[in-house]
């Protein structure tokens, strides 16, 4: 152990009460930072994962048509009337196979699925309701969604695979229509009614999806909706969903279609979560600020009480930088213990919060408080504490180093 660290440790343990106060503040600062981040990002991550698990990371929707035009005014006056450069869109994807083949060349792409969507009316033996048919090829769609994992009824996707006249119905819609697996529903589209067997009921986690969406085989959907070619959109899943924006820009340039990443698709909700995150960051920074003020107070007190010891150390050959180090070591010791205990405290409280019952069934569905377990929260909490506490400790440490041993000894001798 270095002499400075040894001295720092003894100085600190001699001021147990003040040290424990600083330590408690650091533990609370680090711990609450972690808990706040874990709870705030927990709901956001759940929301994002729900979206990615149902609607994929990117959607290629409508074909672009350039409409840039310019006209020269008649009479050759030299004046130009320029129409504003813009883009028109033609609804849907006309050549889904070409788009899918092109998209598969992007390195980040994990899966591609063409989806045909159409509005229908569904009738059960109990009642009728509006819904949306999503025509999919299950083999493709498995790669771009977590549909398989979200089937809540026995048998999974087995029955859906067996017959093209079977459907997957969202939990909310199934409850409204009082549907069970193997029940029959009548689907009415464009004046024609067809009967389908309920092969499974899914819960995506999003109430909006579960109350409207019915999955059907793509071929059958084409027949029902009378769309022999083309699809409504192409859904894409990515290996790294956070790179969706960059990939979308690239795809839009290459494919000539409107390409929407999940960040743009859900930007309203994401901005709400971002505002919550900023708000919680301000709160947790205040916690850490309190910890740094407690450390400042403790060290300032130790400097006042240890001026005689500082003079002794300086008379024995300890340099100004040694004195600074001794006081910064004290802060570092409190920080190290505080970070460790604060991390544990944060983890325990986060776990406790995750057990708190909190039934939500609106934007997404959950029964308990959702938390996010991320090492990054611990790194952020500890880094913030380190920066703030060390800055707060520099002032008393430098003050201690500036003390002139002659002045101290003379003062004591008088």
């Amino acid at each position: 152990m270095s002499p400075n660290l040894r001295i720092a440790f003894r100085f600190l343990t001699a001021k147990k009460r003040a040290m424990l106060m600083s330590l408690s503040c650091t533990v609370l600062g680090v711990g609450l930072f972690i808990v706040t981040q874990a709870t705030t990002s927990g709901f956001e991550e759940f929301f994002v994962n729900t979206l990615l698990g149902t609607d994929g990371a990117i959607r290629i929707e409508d074909r672009k048509q350039s409409t840039m035009q310019s006209m020269e005014a008649a009479g050759g006056s030299g004046a130009h009337i320029l129409q504003r450069e813009g883009v028109k869109y033609i609804e849907g994807v006309e050549e889904p196979q070409l788009i899918k083949d092109a998209v598969r060349n992007f390195a980040n792409v994990r899966g591609v699925s063409a989806v045909l969507r159409g509005n229908v009316q569904v009738t059960s033996s109990f009642k009728s309701d509006d819904a949306q048919i999503f025509g999919i090829k299950l083999d493709e769609h498995r790669l771009v969604s977590e549909l398989e994992r979200k089937i809540t009824t026995p048998g999974g996707l087995g029955k859906f695979l067996e017959s093209t006249s079977s459907v997957l119905v969202g939990r909310v819609l199934a409850d409204r229509l009082q549907l069970r697996v193997n029940d029959t529903i009548s689907v009415n589209a464009r004046g024609e009614s067809r009967r389908y067997n309920v092969a499974g009921i899914y819960e995506s986690g999003s109430r909006d999806i579960d109350k409207t969406r019915i999955y059907l085989d793509l071929g059958e959907a084409r027949s029902l909706l009378r769309r022999p070619t083309g699809v409504t959109f192409v859904q894409i899943s990515l290996h790294e969903p956070n790179r969706a924006r960059e990939d979308a820009v690239h795809m839009e340039d290459v494919l000539g279609h409107s390409v929407r990443p999940w960040q743009e698709r859900e930007k309203e909700w994401l901005s709400v979560f971002r505002a919550l995150r900023v708000s919680s960051a301000i709160t947790v920074t205040v916690f850490t600020l309190i910890a740094s003020l407690a450390m400042f107070n403790t060290l300032a007190m130790i400097v006042l009480e240890k001026t005689k010891d500082i003079a002794i150390l300086r008379s024995m050959g300890y340099e100004r930088r040694d004195i600074t180090q001794i006081f910064l070591w004290q802060a570092a010791i409190v920080l190290a213990i505080g970070a460790l205990l604060g991390g544990l405290f944060g983890a325990v409280v986060t776990w406790g919060v995750s057990r708190v019952p909190l039934p939500i069934n609106t934007l997404f569905k959950t029964q308990t408080f959702i938390v996010s377990w991320s090492a990054w929260h611990y790194v952020q909490a500890i880094s913030t504490a380190v920066v703030m506490v060390m800055i707060a400790s520099l002032v008393p440490a430098r003050r201690a180093a500036r003390l002139e041993p002659g002045d101290i000894v003379r003062g004591t001798a008088q």
């Binding site: 002499p3 040894r6 001295i7 003894r10 100085f11 343990t13 001699a14 005689k308 010891d309 003079a311 002794i312 150390l313 300086r314 008379s315 024995m316 050959g317 300890y318 340099e319 100004r320 040694d322 002139e404 041993p405 002659g406 002045d407 000894v409 003379r410 004591t412 001798a413």
Partner: protein
């Protein structure tokens, strides 16, 4: 009592552990500014014990702190083992203190959170000349020499005033400095402990060929020193 009149021209520079010439020092500011040292010159040979005596406020302690490089003079020169120190920076003066000077203060100035052994080892740990085991062995032998061999692991708070001052003597000798500076080392002790501490300091220093300079009000202590330098109004008389 013997008084040695300094005669630098007759003595080789190597015999002097410490030498100062024309030291000036002002203390305070504005109207309260006092000319404390008015051109003091002084030399200390190895193996000699010097007493600086004089009334309170005559500048004894101020001179001692200047000689110990704890303070900077407003004028004049200081040499430690032939090295000029008066214009050196804080790092050089601190290094010289650690390597060449040992201090004994009136109020013991032990670090009370540390044991006697740790207090004595503290200057050695900073200097880093010895391995940890050798440091501990030397600290133990010094504490043995001052009669505290059985109390090496006692905290400063668990020692009497006399014992604390003996630990301070051992600590001052830890790095085998060439100069020992003591500011009223017996000023806070009873007669028995005063004699004990003085004997320890002077005997150990003489054995090692160290120059001992002490400031004292005690005439008996001053009488037992090799050289006594009385001061008045910032000058030796």
């Amino acid at each position: 009592m013997r008084t040695l009149v300094s005669a630098p021209s007759m003595v080789s520079a190597g015999e002097f552990a410490l030498r100062c010439t024309g030291l000036q020092r002002y203390l305070g500011e504005g109207e309260g500014r006092v000319h404390v040292l008015k051109g003091v010159s002084f030399e200390a040979r190895r193996g000699q014990v010097y007493a600086i005596v004089g009334p309170s406020g005559c500048g004894k302690s101020t001179l001692l702190y200047l000689l110990g490089l704890l303070d900077q003079p407003d004028g004049g020169a200081i040499e430690i083992n032939g090295q000029p120190m008066s214009n050196s920076d804080d790092v050089a003066r601190t290094a010289a203190r650690g390597a060449h000077i040992g201090f004994v203060f009136q109020f013991h100035f032990l670090m009370l959170e540390f044991t006697a052994l740790e207090n004595v080892m503290m200057p050695m740990r900073k200097l880093g000349r010895l391995a940890p085991a050798a440091m501990e062995a030397r600290a133990r032998s010094l504490l043995e020499a001052v009669g505290l061999g059985a109390k090496t692991h006692r905290l400063g708070t668990q020692l009497s005033g006399g014992e604390q001052q003996r630990v301070a003597v051992a600590r001052a000798l830890a790095n085998q400095p060439s100069i020992i500076l003591a500011d009223e080392p017996t000023g806070n002790l009873d007669v028995k402990n005063s004699a004990l501490v003085f004997d320890l300091l002077t005997n150990l220093a003489k054995d090692n060929g160290q120059a001992v300079i002490l400031v004292t009000h005690n005439p008996e202590i001053a009488q037992r020193c090799d050289v006594t330098r009385p001061m008045r109004d910032g000058l030796f008389v």
